[in-house]
Amino acid sequence: MNAQFWLIQTFNGISYGALLFLVGSGLSLIFGVMRIVNLSHGAYFLWGGYIALSVIWTTGSWALSLPLAALAVAVIGLLMERVFLRPLGFDPLRQVLLTVGFAYLFQQGALDIWGGDNMEINPPAALTHSVVIGGIYLPLYRMFMIAMALLIGITIWLAMEKTRMGAAVRATVDDAQMARGVGIDTNRISMLVFALGAFLAALGGVIGGAFLGIYPGLDFEILPLAFAVVIIGGMGSLGGAAIGAMLVGLADNFGKALFPELSYFTLYAPMVLILAIKPTGLFGRE
């Protein structure tokens, strides 16, 4: 175990964290604004990957599959929120269960449409090379993942901090009732945030598809990881999601490399401790 091992594992951890950030930030925003624990989030990830595959098969363009898949899933999320979740009103348990019901429906849908084989999204050849920096091979695709997460993260951060819409979202996270009181249309904010969350999860699915593969069951594998990100970082906090994602990515990589038998335990046990000590997460607001 030399310096190179640590560097490579850190790089792998950060790039995996970048992927988790895409999934986790959407989940976090949805929870922050609507207090909905969305258990369909893994399904959005999976569907993002599958729709991207279909786009690639028909058009041959990987670059096109990114926005198309993400937008398609955003529309699915929007419909789900409008038609089913909104009429339920505020009842956390029923909302959670409803999203589980949908997760099962999405799972079966994906199985019917795309079959049960393990598939992979092939990124353009330009991204499959590695660059050598200081004697270490760094796959370009992992760098692309980090760049993508940075781009998305900064864009959302700017939108949240600098625009009127973003201020309205932040106000809704802090106190939805008060936000309604001052004339913010929290109903519309919820709709947009839910769609944005689905968009980000699907984008994660497309990007992660090249790296994890796309297969039935992936939805419920990625879901607990996304929750780990949200819980560690704090629900409804974008910066928290970024830090949570990095921590989970690194913990996952180092856990697997250093203590293979306990690797998932080393990931979820800190999550329990954080929840027990500070239920709102490290950076969550009360």
Partner: protein, 333 residues
């Protein structure tokens, strides 16, 4: 329906079941055995969800420690294959209770959505260990439990085994029924309705919830022990998130806060999943659709249908139809 009528109808139903199932095809016997084992798990969830108002997304943890304990004792130490099966049953309940007692220290102080998430995280801890701790759990392949215990009874016979599992189910139902009718059970319901008021009345609500959590863990452990012998394979699938989710959905489907609701839910889920799946490929749409429709239109589950019908009738009788039926139903949260 009075309480006596209810008890009598449940008893009559159970007797009928005990008569019909063993006379059915071996496939139905197998299916019923699985459903009954999960019914015990679902009832343990109901103690938390229906009576205490805590939605647990990690009940698979206690279920799987019971199952793994049984599998490891049977395959590595040859314990639990004779009369000492009863010892394993006891140990399974104890390990379920002990795990719950430990996890409860973290989980019980949380409430609502946070309880949901912390139990999810705890369940994932157990899943992670089951999945990765190869030397103990056999990793992804799990552990094959090849032989069933034999103590005068031939449990390799599926019908005999069904009777054993069914007896466990009946005893569990009886014990949990006594529990929820006891003053302790009543105070749990009080916590479900309004925890603050119970605190003001001087109840130690944390302790009540903690004890309920441990009891639920013990019975989940029991169902795990039975599952190891029912399924013949204990793999990380027993601890996976979807197992916890299924148990929770079974309770909601049947009706939370009714005990038998969980059993009905379990029967429906297994019926749809294992019977319908042999008939049609789109069975999962039916299952998902049933979940979604139940949650949308029957917040009290299938057991709530009579009450729902009465409500609708009462509403159409009165001239004032303004009150929404949903508002009348007690909320499970």
């Amino acid at each position: 329906m009075g309480q006596k009528t209810k008890i009598l109808s449940v008893a009559a139903f159970l007797l009928a079941l005990a008569y019909i199932v063993p006379h059915s095809s071996s496939f139905v016997v197998l299916l019923a055995t699985r459903a009954v084992v999960f019914a015990i798990l679902a009832m343990s969830v109901d103690i938390l969800l229906g009576f205490t108002g805590l939605a647990s997304l990690g009940q698979a943890a206690y279920f799987s420690v019971g199952a793994y304990l049984t599998a490891i004792l049977a395959t590595k130490y040859h314990v639990g294959l004779g009369w000492d099966f009863w010892l394993v049953v006891l140990l399974g309940m104890l390990i379920g209770a002990a795990t719950a007692a430990f996890f409860g220290l973290f989980a019980v102080r949380a409430s609502g959505v946070y309880f949901l998430m912390i139990t999810l995280a705890l369940g994932q801890c157990v899943w992670g260990l089951a999945y990765r701790w190869n030397s103990l759990t056999g990793g992804d392949n799990g552990i094959n439990v090849t032989s069933r215990p034999s103590f005068g009874l031939d449990l390799t016979n599926e019908r005999t085994f069904f009777f054993l599992v069914f007896a466990f189910f009946t005893v569990t139902l009886l014990m949990l029924y006594i529990l929820v009718r006891s003053p302790f059970g009543r105070s749990l319901e009080g916590i479900r309705e309004r925890e603050l008021r119970m605190q003001i009345l001087g109840y130690n609500t944390w302790l009540h919830k903690y004890i309920a959590f441990i009891i639920a863990g013990a019975f989940a452990g029991l169902s795990g022990v039975l599952w190891a012998h029912t399924n013949g394979l204990v793999s990380p699938d027993t601890a996976v998130l979807t197992t916890s989710v299924d148990a929770l959905l079974m309770v909601v489907l049947g009706g939370a806060g009714t005990l038998v609701g969980g059993a009905i839910g379990s029967a429906i889920v297994f019926g749809l999943r294992e019977y319908l799946s042999t008939l049609v490929p789109w069975w999962q749409y039916v299952l998902g659709g049933v979940y979604v429709l139940t949650i949308l239109y029957l917040p009290m589950g299938l057991m709530g249908i009579p009450a729902r019908i009465r409500q609708v009738r009462a509403l159409s009788d009165t001239t004032e139809n303004r009150a929404a039926p949903d508002k009348l139903a007690p909320k499970p949260s």
